[in-house]
């Protein structure tokens, strides 16, 4: 299993992401955004969290024009796996690989806490190790995580099983933590090979971190 983790100016979760996949036994490489090509023979591209280009203009708006992103779009369109975490999710929506957009949180706060999230669909590689309706505890840390899509698009992603995760309370009831429509915390594309989520699974991979639920998510790619 070979994983490429992208690094843009301002990315700050690439080392945690590298560590998480290395712990799972993957061969991980960090790739600078100015590269024109992805390394040969990789099985997964991860866009890690952070503040690419200082979140100037909109989160992810400038990173999507980095040279490496052309290669990522090609790679995704060939049906290969791409995962965007937090700022990576924002970049994937900006470039159009994932539907919708991420707006400023409704309460205008940067929300940084452990959050319960519910698995909605597991008929995809990413969440294949989780059960549907399972409640996971994963850290979130974002100011722009308020998922928006027009009503037609929302119907479409809900009926296609593209909604991966919802924020929920400890009983599993949807929770309006940041204003996301239908409490959406993560989505995938129609082909179910491009995934994006605001929570940080790479920060929940060891007991000492307070949760190991993120490991279960990332393990989906390892089989």
């Amino acid at each position: 299993m070979r994983v490429a983790v992208l690094r843009f100016p301002g990315t700050n979760c690439e080392l945690d992401t590298h560590y998480a996949f290395a712990q799972l036994g993957a061969d991980v490489e960090i790739v600078w955004h100015n590269e024109q090509k992805l390394p040969e023979g990789i099985d997964l591209v991860v866009l890690a969290g952070g503040f690419s280009y200082g979140d100037y203009l909109r989160s992810g708006a400038i990173a999507r024009f980095s040279p490496i992103m052309k290669a990522v779009v090609e790679y995704a369109n060939e049906g290969n796996f791409v995962l965007g975490i937090c700022n990576g999710f924002q970049i994937l929506t900006e470039i159009g690989l994932l539907p919708g957009a991420l707006k400023r949180n409704n309460n205008l706060h940067f929300i940084s806490k452990f959050q319960t999230i519910k698995v909605i669909n597991n008929d995809n590689r990413f969440l294949s190790q989780c059960n549907t309706q399972e409640i996971l505890t994963i850290p979130i840390a974002h100011a722009d995580g308020n998922y928006y899509i027009d009503s037609e698009g929302l119907k479409e992603i809900e009926s296609n099983g593209q909604v991966l995760l919802r924020y929920c309370d400890s009983n599993g009831e949807p929770l309006a933590i940041n204003g996301s429509l239908n409490a959406i915390a993560g989505v995938c594309n129609k082909n179910k090979n491009v995934f994006g989520l605001m929570p940080h699974p790479e920060r929940a991979i060891e007991d000492i971190l307070g949760s190991m639920d993120g490991k279960k998510m990332l393990e989906g790619f390892m089989n």
């Binding site: 400038i62 919708g100 707006k103 400023r104 205008l108």
Partner: protein
Amino acid sequence: MRAIVNVYLKEGVLDPQGKAIAHALDSLGFGELVKGVRVGKQMVLELNSTDEASAKIEVEKMCETLLANTVIEDYTIEF
């Protein structure tokens, strides 16, 4: 020549910043007058051109590709 680009969240897309400002204006006593507030971004582009028509086409392209996210935002262009 100068092009002024204004970017706003679309009508119908909840604007949390605008709402917070409207709330603050209300608590300052302007609530009766102020029906609503929308927050936008203004970008002022200094252009190497004197031809407004052709520049407008180019600035529109800039808005569609970078300056606005048309999933959630509308834009206006003024010269």
